[in-house]
């Protein structure tokens, strides 16, 4: 097992990794920007190093400073968390060349899956259904030709993208050129890579993803699926649950089997998630693979009783994954609500400031993953996630009731939060009936149809 691990991240996920390390007897090293000097993730780690000014590009994405901190601290391994450098193959390579074990899959797999267009191609070759789509678009004419044959509406996506950035929906040919330029510009700014591709836009699909785990000896398992259909306009997830409700058992089986097949086909190691879009007719289409731990991993942990982050560390340390597929049986239902510092009534505009009172829920079946506390600063430089509340109970209606109970106990003052919009989601009859899909939140909750 490692002696010391550096966590190249911040906020709640850094804490999550620190906790897994401490339970394994591994010492932890945090990095922080000047804006996070008093952050909880710094206080909970055994050592910490300031790596730059507040801007992410100069701190949490500052590879030289981060790797130098790892050298100075004498760590064995680096855990990248999610976002930031977690899916940059050059970071994984640099860690390796400096003698640090990168806690994640090998760099070539990160590269393959990080290029969304090439990942799709590879999956199609492995016999996994994919959404009809183009290659990287170099001219508007190319895009027009694809859209003419696939049919509108289409979705323009950034090949280096994630988290909903660099995406544009285009309903007709007249808007195509403007959509391409806008998506490409956003992608260039967010990821440093403005290349885009185009996909057919499916009608009200559900976003269902499969968690996979593989050790470095080739033993690969799936840990069930999650439904992440409740998304803000802009495709960012807001609420996730496991198992996916109202999913035919055959479709679930095929999805999970496809995920394992795809993972094995890429010589994968460590944790990963394959994202699919599932239509009402039971068809599913590969969308992308995330070669890292995901924000919503706690719902899988609740339902399967498995510690994914601890397995990430153990797998990277060379241990065999001692979990057999046949032993994994889901128990009950879990829901996660992302409490963000955002004003849901104002297009989810991010809020920043200093928190006042913070009262977090508890009791049976409630888990909180958060870095916030009363008096904490919410800096404007990073993503707006404040806390994840996870409710687990024996079935979905009970989990919904438990989450409503937990939300009613929760108080976070000082910035606008998404607490209220979660309450609206959970009291909605169509959510109770599991009728969600990727545009459900906008259509049914934010702009409900006239009575």
């Amino acid at each position: 097992m490692f002696n010391k691990v550096l966590i190249a991240n911040r906020g709640e996920i850094e804490l999550r990794i620190v906790r897994a390390c401490h339970e394994l007897g591994v010492k932890t090293v945090a990095i922080f920007s000047e804006a996070d000097r008093n952050a909880l993730h710094v206080r909970m780690s055994d050592e910490s190093y300031c790596v730059g000014p507040p801007q992410s590009a100069r701190s949490y994405l500052n590879i030289p400073n981060i790797v130098s901190a790892a050298e100075v601290a004498g760590v064995d391994a680096i855990h990248p968390g999610y976002g930031f450098l977690s899916e940059r193959e050059n970071f994984a390579e640099i860690c390796a060349s400096h003698g640090f074990k990168f806690i994640g899959p090998p760099a070539p797999v990160i590269a393959l899956m990080g290029d969304k267009a090439s990942a799709k191609k590879r999956m199609a070759e492995a016999g996994i259904p994919v959404i009809p789509g183009s290659g990287i678009i170099t001219t508007v004419a190319e895009a027009k030709a694809f859209c003419a044959s696939a049919g509108y509406p289409v979705l323009i996506k950034a090949t280096a993208g994630g988290g909903g950035k660099g995406m544009r929906i285009v309903g007709r040919e007249a808007d195509l050129a403007a959509g391409l330029e806008s998506a490409s510009g956003e992608a260039q700014a967010a990821f440093g890579d403005g290349r885009v591709y185009v996909e057919k836009l499916l009608v009200k699909p559900r976003h269902i993803e499969v968690q996979v785990l593989a050790d470095e000896f080739g033993h690969t398992i799936h840990v069930g699926e999650r439904d992440c259909s409740v998304q803000k306009p802009g495709h960012q997830k807001l609420l996730e649950e496991a198992p996916a409700p109202r999913l035919q058992p055959e479709v679930r089986e095929q999805l999970c089997a496809a995920a394992v097949r795809a993972t094995r086909a890429t010589d994968y190691a460590n944790a990963g998630t394959l994202e699919f879009l599932v239509t009402d007719d039971g068809n599913f289409y590969f969308m992308e693979m995330n070669t890292r731990i995901q924000v919503e991993h706690p719902v899988t942990e609740a339902v399967y009783g498995i510690d994914l982050v601890r397995w990430q560390i153990r797998i990277a340390a060379g241990e065999r994954l001692a979990v057999r597929q046949e032993d994994l049986k889901p128990r009950g239902h879990a829901i996660e609500c992302r409490i963000n510092a955002e004003d849901a009534d104002n297009k989810f505009a991010p809020a920043a400031g200093r928190l006042g009172t913070v009262l977090l829920p508890g009791g049976p079946g409630i888990r909180i993953d958060t870095h916030i506390h009363a008096g904490a600063d919410v800096p404007p430089y990073y993503d707006s996630l404040l806390a994840k509340i996870i409710a687990h109970d024996r079935n979905r209606p009970s989990a919904i009731a438990r989450m409503r109970r937990a939300l009613s106990e929760t108080e976070i003052r000082g910035v606008a939060t998404t607490l209220a919009v979660h309450e609206r989601i959970l009291e909605s009859p169509s959510f109770a009936g599991a009728h969600t899909h990727v545009t459900w939140l906008r259509e049914e909750v934010l702009q409900p149809p006239a009575a």
């Binding site: 000047e34 000097r37 008093n38 909880l40 710094v42 206080r43 909970m44 780690s45 055994d46 050592e47 910490s48 190093y49 300031c50 790596v51 730059g52 000014p53 701190s59 030289p64 400073n65 981060i66 790797v67 130098s68 901190a69 050298e71 100075v72 601290a73 400096h98 006042g356 009172t357 913070v358 009262l359 977090l360 506390h373 009363a374 008096g375």
Partner: protein, 168 residues
């Protein structure tokens, strides 16, 4: 030693129960100082102050400036190991803004540390071979009386604002 093996554990236990923060015990055999660190509270409610875990290094002290003088702290802008320049000026010597006072070694690259303003080298805060992180104070340079340096008193902020206070 009899004191260390037999009496010290009991002494530590007793000390832990008291509200004292620091205790020195001197016997014929040994002198022992016992210290408590501030308690931590991971999820704090309103009113609780949490101290950071990071230990202050012995040289995290910056000398108080005289009011009205343009003091500059020379801070690290990369993470690495600090080394002083072979021709390091003496404390009190005058330096140019471009004078290299040392360098920070990181990933086999040496980044020079320059004085930044012309003036007198007042202090060296970082020790030779000390690991430093971003923003850590390395040197203090006295740029002279503010009026003489700038010709405009109002443009120079008060010395308290220029110096970064020692990090808690």
């Amino acid at each position: 030693m009899d004191f260390v093996q037999k009496r010290l554990p009991a002494l530590c236990e007793a000390f832990a129960q008291t509200p004292l923060m620091r205790l020195r015990v001197t016997t014929a055999e040994a002198s022992v100082t016992l210290e408590k660190s501030a308690t931590h509270s991971p999820v704090a409610y309103v009113g609780t102050i949490v101290e950071p875990r990071r230990q202050l290094r012995p040289h995290d002290y910056v000398p108080d400036p005289e009011p009205g003088r343009a003091i500059t702290t020379v801070a690290a802008d990369v993470v690495g190991v600090f080394h002083s320049a072979p021709d390091l000026p003496e404390i009190g010597e005058r330096v140019d803004a471009d004078r290299v006072l040392g360098f920070i070694e990181a990933l086999k690259v040496r980044t020079p540390v320059k004085a930044g303003i012309a003036g007198e080298l007042v202090g060296q805060v970082a020790e030779e071979g000390q690991p430093v992180d971003f923003g850590e104070t390395l040197f203090v340079v006295d740029g002279g009386p503010a009026e003489a340096a700038r010709g405009d008193v109002s443009a120079v902020p008060a010395a308290e604002e220029i110096i970064e206070p020692p990090r808690l």
